[in-house]
């Protein structure tokens, strides 16, 4: 095992339950795992099992009932590490242009400087959105909108990226392309990322490691490292590799074994 110093994120027996007048629904039970810097982890599991809840807890939007989270060795509340969170839908605001949507986070965190503005322009240029800077979100295709949402997250220079089924709202072709796109962007920027998805092939094509959750209440059923013997390790190349099918069958059996 790696030493603690290298671990950017550490979860120790996280418990969470939802409460309402009818009673409580346990969502997460004893979730523990750790991540190295630059690692890409996919979390898969049946829908409604608490995958998104887990991301909300890591990002600090929800407080776990038990357990602790450490980021770069510090407790989540004291940590100054930037966490970027990409939601299922792009949530671009129609009353703002693409550029102004992208700088929303900078605006909120009072980080609008000449430098960060230049960075926003540069990122938009890099990801092929330069000529749409002044367009409204509705003028963009689904894939472009998702890329704009990614730029909005990246411009804050997060050390950890949380992706909550960010491609599920796209049609199949766009999904493959944007998945490939965004996967490479994250690899290139050397970001630590957690992807939550119910699409197994998406998880296998993007991640270094897959964590399989059980149905609600979720516990970790298995952790599976993915090793591909490829010259150029891109999501699309992975889909054509012989290992892909094996991993798919393995995970499929794991998930459906307990039904």
């Amino acid at each position: 095992m790696e030493s603690n110093a290298e671990q950017i994120l550490e979860l120790k027996s996280i418990y969470y339950a939802y409460h309402n007048m009818e009673g409580e629904t346990r969502a997460l039970i004893d979730i523990s795992f750790a991540m190295k810097e630059g690692e890409f982890v996919a979390i898969v599991g049946p829908s409604g099992c608490g995958k998104s809840t887990l991301l909300s807890i890591i990002s600090g939007l929800l407080q776990p009932e038990k357990g602790l989270i450490k980021i770069n060795g510090k407790y989540l509340r004291e940590s100054t590490t930037n966490i970027g969170y990409m939601l299922q839908h792009d949530q671009l605001f129609e009353w703002r242009t693409i550029y102004h949507n992208v700088i929303l986070g900078l605006e909120i965190q009072h980080m609008l400087t000449t430098k960060t503005k230049a960075k926003a322009h540069e990122l938009l240029d890099t990801y092929g959105l330069k000529q749409f800077e002044n367009a409204r979100p509705s003028e963009l295709s689904g894939g472009m909108r998702q890329r704009a949402a990614l730029v909005r997250t990246l411009v804050l220079e997060p050390d950890i990226l949380l992706l909550d089924e960010p491609f599920s709202a796209l049609d199949y072709q766009t999904r493959l392309r944007v998945g490939d796109d965004i996967g490479q962007i994250i690899k290139k920027e050397h970001k630590t990322a957690i992807l939550v998805t119910h699409d197994l092939s998406e998880a296998i094509s993007l991640a270094d490691r897959v964590i399989i959750l059980t149905p609600r209440p979720a516990t970790i059923q298995q952790t599976l490292p993915l090793i591909f013997d490829l010259e150029k390790d891109t999501p699309l190349n992975r889909r054509n590799a012989p290992e892909f099918k094996n991993y798919f069958n393995l995970i499929w059996k794991e998930i459906n074994g307990n039904e």
Partner: protein, 247 residues
């Protein structure tokens, strides 16, 4: 400009003719209505003392414009309506924001708002005169009372129907509830705010007229009451026409 194709020209021609028919028909309806009114009044089919007639209205209007009293009445009513309108908008936006920030407050006040909103506001006007006196303040408050509770309720409804995922986005960008208000809730409620403003200007006018019926020495509401007391129906109708042209 490109040369227009035959089909495009034909399309434009049909559109133009359509618009002309609509416009001409509108004017024709008005003119024939006025003509039938004037004709039936002159031949005694309807009683012109009770129903008045276009020529009498025109004459009365001429009198009122030459001694400038109509402009005074319109001006006073307009002034009172606009003051109460802006007060309603300002107060109801602030109140709705306060309700949005505190779920407890909104739940506590909800039944009171519903009851106050369903009160017959015209019944309040006599009370207001007793409380505030027969002056312009009473009239402005009467104008506000008609619009304000409904306006707060519908603004709050529109604030709380904002997509929660959009608010979650603000929190993921480390924003606070204040950011959620200024960056999401207010901008996305702008169409609703404009709609409420449109409804409110009419409601405020209704309230102001009710106030003027009871507590005024000028204004269109006063002109209506005065004209009806001296059986000059033309005066009432002129006041009504002034409303139509005002808004």
């Amino acid at each position: 400009m490109n040369e227009l194709s035959v089909e495009q020209k034909k399309f434009l021609h049909i559109q133009k003719r359509h618009r002309r028919v609509v416009g001409v028909s509108r004017v024709l309806i008005l003119l024939s209505f006025l003509f039938v009114w004037e004709f039936t009044a002159n031949t005694g089919i309807i009683d012109s003392f009770i129903f008045s007639c276009p020529s009498k209205i025109a004459l009365c209007f001429w009198e009122l414009t030459t001694d400038r009293t109509i402009f005074v009445h319109i001006g006073v009513t307009l002034y009172e309506t606009i003051i109460s309108f802006f007060l309603v908008i300002g107060i109801s936006i602030l109140a709705a924001i306060a309700l949005w920030f505190s779920r407890k407050l909104s739940e506590i006040l909800d039944p009171y708002m519903v009851v106050l909103n369903s009160l017959p506001k015209s019944a309040l006007a006599p009370l207001l005169i007793v409380w505030l006196g027969a002056n312009q303040t009473t009239i402005i408050v009467a104008g506000m009372s008609v619009a304000i509770f409904g306006s707060i309720l519908s603004l709050y409804t529109s604030f709380s129907s904002v997509d929660p995922e959009k608010i979650k986005l603000i929190y993921t960008l480390q924003g606070t509830r204040l950011h959620a208000m200024t960056k999401v809730v207010l901008p996305s409620s702008l169409p609703a705010i404009i709609n409420i403003m449109k409804v409110n200007i009419g409601l405020c006018l209704v309230g102001v007229i009710i106030g003027e019926f009871l507590a005024a020495r000028n204004g269109l509401g006063y002109l209506i009451i005065y004209s009806s007391q001296v059986f000059r129906c033309a005066g009432i109708l002129i006041s009504l026409l002034s409303f139509i042209f005002l808004f």
